[in-house]
Amino acid sequence: MTALGKLLRTTAFRLALAYLVVFATLSVVVLAYVSWHANALIAAQLNATVNAEITGLAEQYRQGGIRKLVATVEERSNRGAGTLYLLTTFAGDVLAGNVVGLPDAALAEQGERELPYQRAGEAAVAPYPAVVRVFVLPGGYRLLVGRDTEERERLSGVIANAVQWSLALVVVLGLAGGVFVARRVLNRIDAMTDTVRGIMAGDLSGRLAVTGLDDEFDRLAQATNAMLDRINELMAGLKEVSDNIAHDLKTPLNRLRNRAEAALRDARSEDDWAGAMERVIADTDAMLGIFNALLLIARAESGGARDQLAPVDLADIAGSVAELYEPLAEERGVALVVETPEPIQALGNRELIGQAVANLIENALNYGGSNGEVRVTAHGEGDLARIVVADRGPGIPDADKARAMDRFVRLDTSRSRPGSGLGLALVSAVARLHGGALTLADNEPGLRAVLTLPIQAQALPPPAPPALPAPSAGAKAAE
């Protein structure tokens, strides 16, 4: 596509062309109207002048007969001033007047007509146009009074000129304006296109230029830049996640391999083999657990389970999951206190919320210290429900609270204990799927994990953007 072709194809230029046609048509119509009216007006004035002249001459004739008329016509003929006079006998002999070269039939009949004429005493040039009135007087005398119409013709000429010039001006200005605007737009668009191509080619740091004019292009550029920033963030998050996955899945895979190798090398008896195989299966199951948790987080974050939301009782879920863990807590010497005073109806996924509560309780039991107390409560307040799992353990330092909800983050204090590092990330993802949030607070002492979920069906927001880089950011945004 040539540069000119590109220019002519722009929307701006096409718009300019359309306006050009509209304005040109409009100016022609206006000038035609003006010229038509001016013509009519001038014609009326000419007629009035001729009529007044004739009335005056008729008066002369009535008072003084043909002699007086001849004298008056002669006197007026010499005045010039564009009025034409001619007085003839019925045979056509001229008695007085300032007109010559009239067509033969001009005086034959009474009435008004337009004629070419020549002025008496002037060298024969092209005849002038005139409007004349012929009057037959008693005695066969013919009186012609007329008016030169050159003025009228000149006015028509002026108007025709004006039409031509204004048309030319409209076309030239319109085309120039169109080209100017189109080029301006084209330059901005070309610059944007270049930048976008660069970004597609891999230069992810590229951003659209913002001119500071705060026009529509600036707004588009700002929105696009914000989108690019967001994409960058997500990509960084994705990279971090895949790095983590690679690391955290390689570690147990490696362990599994070592175990199998050791069994192959050292196992002597049937029992040795069986024991080794059992440990290998247990390791595999643990890895499958990690996979499942990851898939579940991904599913929750993509909002894929959103259409599976059904009416559930949050208090019942919290209560039944707590009940599931009650004997385990007792075995570990931890008092599991459950407080779910009344049903809390909400739209939710029972499995996911159940899993989330289970993860929180397991965390509390695993890291909440021994001989303590774990308190599970579910309360509805307005259009929010809070499921709180609070323990009396060491808690999580403020600095680590947001990080604790990321995938595969295992705080130093928990490194030595079993776990995939996905528990809180899953809870956070489940909360966001439901339009809620997970917040970690201080239980003074201990950790107080608060799962906030909206109660009303209408309170469910459209799918939130998946907060890949830092689940905590999503949680904050949802608050």
Partner: protein
């Protein structure tokens, strides 16, 4: 103790299918194998199986459509769906399509066996009976009472449901996930051994003080309640 079942495995992974067929045969059952949906449909309509094990993703005719066709023809054979898809929402689709149980891949063979046996016996094992008996242990589902050798045993509501489920499947191995699904109605995977603690609590109530234990742990699989060792 369990009667031999006739099973159909519809699974396109031949190696996995061969392993399952072999293991089922060793467990005393008869298993046929179909490698795609159309073959599976032909076999299932041609002969009477006790349970169908159908993979969700199959060549030629996918698992859910296969089940849909059989159900449309009025077949009531219990179906266990196998799937590599996620657990939470796909399970709902599977059960809605006419499946009776759902198992996510990869699975332990013990889990598959326990579920297939439970499905096969579901119609037979008098689910409508009001009283289940195993040895001298008796559970009355109407009056919610449990007695052993005439002695009343007081159970918590959840312990009662746990025992009820075990006794409905008396002689059958039930896995931990089956217990979690049927007694608590959750399908997720607890990290810790919560179910074991519940079972050992129940065991201490029904077996403690009696000579013969009835609630047995089956290593690598789950639990079984039965009178006398096999």
């Amino acid at each position: 103790m369990t009667t031999a079942m006739k099973l159909l495995i519809v699974e396109d992974d031949r190696e996995a299918a061969a392993y399952v067929v072999k293991a089922l045969t060793e467990a005393g059952h008869v298993a046929d194998h179909a490698a795609d949906g159309l073959d599976g449909y032909a076999l299932a309509s041609a002969s009477n199986y006790d349970v169908l094990v159908v993979d969700r993703m199959l060549p030629k005719l996918d698992g859910l459509s296969l089940i849909g066709r059989l159900r449309a023809e009025g077949a009531t054979t219990p179906v266990l769906i196998l799937s590599a898809l996620g657990q939470v929402d796909d399970r709902v689709d599977g059960l809605r399509a006419g499946g009776d149980d759902y198992l996510t891949k990869p699975y332990a063979f013990a889990e598959l066996l326990a579920r297939v046996e439970a499905l096969a016996r579901r119609g037979a094992a008098g689910a409508g009976d009001t009283v289940y008996r195993v040895g001298d242990l008796e559970i009355d589902r109407l009056s919610h009472t449990v007695t052993r050798a005439g002695q009343e045993i007081v159970l918590q509501p959840r312990e009662f449901r746990l025992l009820e489920y075990l006794m409905r499947n008396a002689g059958q191995v039930v896995t931990r996930t089956m217990l979690l699904e049927n007694v608590w109605d959750y399908h997720f995977d607890p990290q810790t051994n919560v179910i074991d603690v519940h079972v050992s609590r129940l065991r201490s109530k029904i077996d403690k003080g009696f000579d013969k234990p009835l609630l047995h742990t089956v290593r690598g699989a789950g639990y079984v309640i039965r009178d006398g060792a096999r």
